[in-house]
Amino acid sequence: MRVNFTVNGRPQEADDVWEGESLLYVLRERLGLPGSKNACEQGECGSCTVRLDGVPVCSCLVAAGQVEGRDVVTVEGLADYAKQRAEHGGCASGACGTSLDEAQQWQAKGTDSQTGEGTELSPIQQAFIDAGAVQCGFCTPGLLVAADEMLERNPNPTDADIREALSGNLCRCTGYEKIMDAVRLAAARQGEAV
């Protein structure tokens, strides 16, 4: 079958799709977007998380045919997506987020990231790099999509809020501490920026 849908703001057409193929497979193998990851392909790990009409879903559990005419955002489009959101008003109250000082208590600011040099990143992507939240990185795309969506809903999350929102995303390397740091940092920066 043929599936027409929008990925990261661009219309896409996938041909010869089998009925059993997942959205994840179509993204990775037919559209050349392997950023969404295939860690379990059974909806348990969250590494394939994408936004489907704005809602975070495991793309491995979405049949490709279900996305006909719908709107998908993957990690590859996250920077653009966050930029557009910022341009259309992010945090309205101006009082969001933990203070930057508080978020940076872990004192991990590195010095030679490539970031900011040619690659435009969303605040959550930047924070993951800065906080050391990336090791093997296989969980990272899904966590980024999920964390970005949480910060959109809840710009001033408590630690318990962050843990609850990210509880569907497994990470095997970090022990999650630096992921917590990264989300706190992104929230704090988001607050400072307003």
Partner: protein, 795 residues
């Protein structure tokens, strides 16, 4: 053929930074990883590529009566089906140490999920369906599942006709390896004991559960060879095992490291490497294989489950008198790393304590359970769980504080290991315990808020099973000792190639090693070392491949030490050559070229007094300097097969944990509130990465304390829970805050004084959590992981 998409590219780092050792420089692959552009092995793609699929045995132990592939071969879209009979070379087995593992089953399967046939097709689903059409007729055999069945008088031999070098000293052919260690006189020392405690402990089978599934792409080459893009822990070890089975010389098997989504020991053994190459060579087309999670549970070895029998004695003033132990590790159907795991379990079975009189035996069995091999902590994890439980039992019996009791018996620099090897670098065991105990305690009843109980912070979480009723807090401590590097006489070297030249008007260093970056941050550290040693800002990390000498395995906490040491050494040699060029070009202008000690700093040649002699750009103008050199740490020696004596380990690593748990005693649910760690790292080359390793290792230890276990049916030896639905690893809700206190006491033997750090935190985490649960519940709890039924008495 053209390069596939997703081919690793060089990563050039940082233009305006210092970023030498000791700084928390950020990962050079960070941007690629957060944008989804980093190419993992499962992301590789090639025009016209086929998909490979493996058919695995549905039974654990059986003779293969027949295999019928006709229907699979006739399926449209299928390009090849291969069985044992299609293997092209004389060599049909592989293995890390003992080549006992068939590439495809021959006449017999020895464990559930053993590869029997492989298929290549133009769509992964076509390949799966075709594999399902292969008809295999099995005649089932009795299964060997534990020590009793393995050593029974009429036991079937898992491997007949063994000719490996352990068969001569094992008491039974179903024992892979046996290592006794005897030191002092236990019978005599036992008489001095005022208290004696015994314990029988069980350690469940843990899975590495790396998130990036086993995968890779094999591309046939015009010279009849093959190029494999692969996620592994050691390219050259793979190469040594792959080439003979393909019937190719090693030069015709090119290997490039693709992005690796975690490893933790589970990629030391081969998985789909040979299968992909066989199908690519058979079909003349690129072949990609990607396991799904179900298959991944069958496609790699696990941590050895173990039974551990311990006896300790102590005087009434709290001094340990003696220790006897017997450790039985289940190696499963194939040897994998079992012999080395036995060496570790036995030689580290005493823990970081002073006990002069010991009698130790460790064995690994051949059974029909899933093969077990390397996982973070490698034999030391199981022992630590048991000896730390013993320490608490002794302290309790003596009426002593468990931390003070441990400190009273803690080893220090100069203590002899049970193998007779002196610990000749800092061993701050008592200090780590002091530090971890001194950390502030998390507040009580954190779940209470003005709006009622926040169930997310209680046992049971959002299942809303308690608002604090029946919840009891407990605190537990543990400390462990892990070896660093490959042991027992292994030639554990690494190779580094370092090049220095002027690019775009700037001095640039290129570091090329075959080190597998699996997420640990080795490439970050290599760039830091090059900056420190060569005074450059720009460092390019060349993709890891087999075009450079071996870097050894990314295991045993060894890469920063050994490949880091090789990079440092190669940089030093490059520096000498650069200075020679400088002396030749500019020596006549300044006497310091001949007389002073010279350094490379911030792009310049400077004297140790800080005087600038030349710009590196001028020295290197028109010249490029390149060195490729192997580097070795000090040699070790095998343990004596009867007494276990020998200088077996390179270095030791220590960590201590304090766990705070809250247990819902009515439902048997555990919430770990905090898991604090103190660890000596010698020298933190990258503090941010060091803390990340400690927190990650701690969490894997937490997992096997309260949730992670592969359940194997003892009647059929079949795996019952091969999925993330049924094999649970900690989520962010299960994982507590992990405060880390890092101690840096230099080891003078090691580069920069560093200590391998990746594994030690995985050891003491588990027993600390268990100790805390015992403290909360008063239960004995002699097995891990702990499940609700063990806490409610309904097991």
């Amino acid at each position: 053929m053209a390069s596939p998409s997703g081919t690793p590219t060089k990563i050039t780092q940082g233009a305006q930074t210092k970023g030498g050792i000791g700084e928390s420089t950020l990962r050079p692959d960070g941007t690629l990883k957060v944008t989804g552009e980093f190419a993992y092995s499962s992301d590789m793609w090639h025009e016209d590529m086929l998909w490979g699929q493996i058919l695995r045995s549905t039974v654990a132990h059986a003779e293969i009566v027949s295999i019928d592939t006709a229907e699979a071969l006739a399926t449209p879209g299928v390009y090849a089906v291969m069985t044992y009979d299609d293997l092209p070379a004389e060599v049909k087995n592989y293995g890390l140490e003992i080549q006992d593992t068939p590439v495809l089953a021959h006449g017999k399967v020895r464990h559930h999920g053993e590869p029997v046939a492989i298929v290549a097709a133009d769509h992964p689903e076509t390949a799966r369906r075709a594999a399902a059409k292969i008809k295999v007729e099995y005649r089932e055999l009795p299964v060997i599942t534990d020590e009793a069945s393995a050593l029974a008088p009429d036991a079937i031999l898992v491997h007949e006709g063994r000719d490996d070098h352990h068969i001569g000293h094992v008491p039974h052919p179903n024992i892979v390896h046996r290592q006794p260690i005897v030191r002092g006189d236990v019978a005599e020392a036992r008489k001095r004991a005022d208290v004696i405690v015994e314990g029988e402990y069980t350690f469940g089978m843990q899975d590495q559960a790396f998130l990036g599934p086993e995968s890779g792409l094999a591309v046939p080459e015009e010279d009849g060879g093959v190029h494999l893009y692969i996620a592994t822990q050691w390219l050259h070890s793979d190469l040594r095992q792959i080439a003979p089975v393909l019937g190719l010389p090693e030069e015709k098997v090119r290997m490039t490291l693709a992005g690796v989504g975690g490893a933790f020991g589970g990629r030391e053994d081969l998985s789909m490497q040979i299968h992909a190459c066989l199908l690519a060579l058979r079909t003349g087309k690129p072949v990609k294989i990607v396991y799904n999670r179900f298959e991944s549970f069958f496609g790699h070895v696990h941590r050895h489950p173990a039974k551990l029998y311990y006896e300790h004695g102590a005087t009434k003033d709290g001094k340990l008198t003696h220790m006897k132990c017997r450790i039985v590790l289940d190696g499963g159907a194939y040897a994998s790393a079992s012999p080395a795991v036995v060496g570790n379990a036995s030689s580290l079975s005493v823990g970081p304590y002073v006990i002069d009189d010991v009698d130790i035996e460790a064995i690994a069995l051949y059974t029909n359970n899933p093969p077990c091999g390397a996982m973070r902590g490698f034999g030391a994890v199981q022992a630590c769980f048991a000896y730390e439980a013993q320490m608490d039992k002794l302290a309790k019996k003596l009426g002593m504080d468990p931390v003070e009791f441990r400190q009273l018996n803690a080893m220090e620099q100069g203590t002899l290991m049970p193998t007779g090897q002196p610990v000749d670098s800092p061993a701050p065991v008592a200090e780590l315990l002091r530090r971890v105990k001194a950390m502030p305690m998390p507040p009580e009843r954190q779940w209470e808020s003005s709006e009622g109980a926040d169930v997310r912070q209680l046992p049971g979480g959002l299942s809303n099973t308690t608002h604090g009723e029946g919840v009891v807090r407990g605190v537990g401590y543990a400390v462990g000792i892990k070896n660093v590097g490959f042991s027992e006489g292994f030639d554990d070297y690494s190779t580094a190639k370092v090049r220095m030249e002027v690019v775009g008007g700037e001095p640039v260093a290129t570091v090329h090693t075959a080190m597998a970056e699996v997420g640990q941050g080795g490439i970050t550290v290599h760039a830091q070392i090059a900056r420190t040693e060569l005074g450059v800002q720009q460092v390019t990390i060349h993709p890891a491949d087999t075009q450079v000498g071996s870097a050894g395995s990314t295991s045993a906490s060894r890469q920063t030490y050994v490949t880091g040491g090789a990079v440092k050494n190669a940089c030093e040699l490059v520096r000498e050559k650069v200075l020679e060029i400088g002396r030749r070009k500019f020596g006549s202008y300044h006497p310091a070229w001949a007389t002073a000690e010279l350094l490379l700093e911030s792009g310049k040649v400077v004297t140790d007094g800080g005087e600038v002699l030349a710009d590196l750009v001028d020295v290197l103008e028109g010249e490029a300097v390149e060195v490729e050199e192997e580097w070795r740490h000090r040699p070790t020696e095998p343990f004596d097969l009867r007494t276990g004596q020998g200088f077996g380990h390179v270095q030791y690593s220590f960590a201590a944990h304090r766990a705070v748990v809250e247990v819902d005693t009515e439902l048997g649910l555990v919430k770990v509130i905090e898991l604090a760690c103190a660890q000596d790292v010698g020298k933190a080359l990258n503090p941010l990465s060091v803390i990340g390793q400690i927190q990650g290792g701690t969490t894997q230890g937490l997992g096997v304390a309260v949730m992670e276990e592969i359940i194997v049916d003892p009647k059929t030896a079949k795996v019952k829970n091969p999925s993330f639905t049924d094999y649970l690893i900690p989520t962010i809700l299960d994982t507590p805050t992990i405060p880390v206190d890092v101690l840096e006491l230099a080891d003078d033997q090691a580069p920069y004084g560093l200590r391998g750090i990746g594994e030690a935190p995985t050891l003491s985490s588990t027993p600390a959590v268990l100790a805390a649960i015992r403290n909360a519940t008063g239960l004995e709890l002699n097995r891990t992981p702990v499940r609700p039924e063990h806490l409610t008495g309904t097991a």
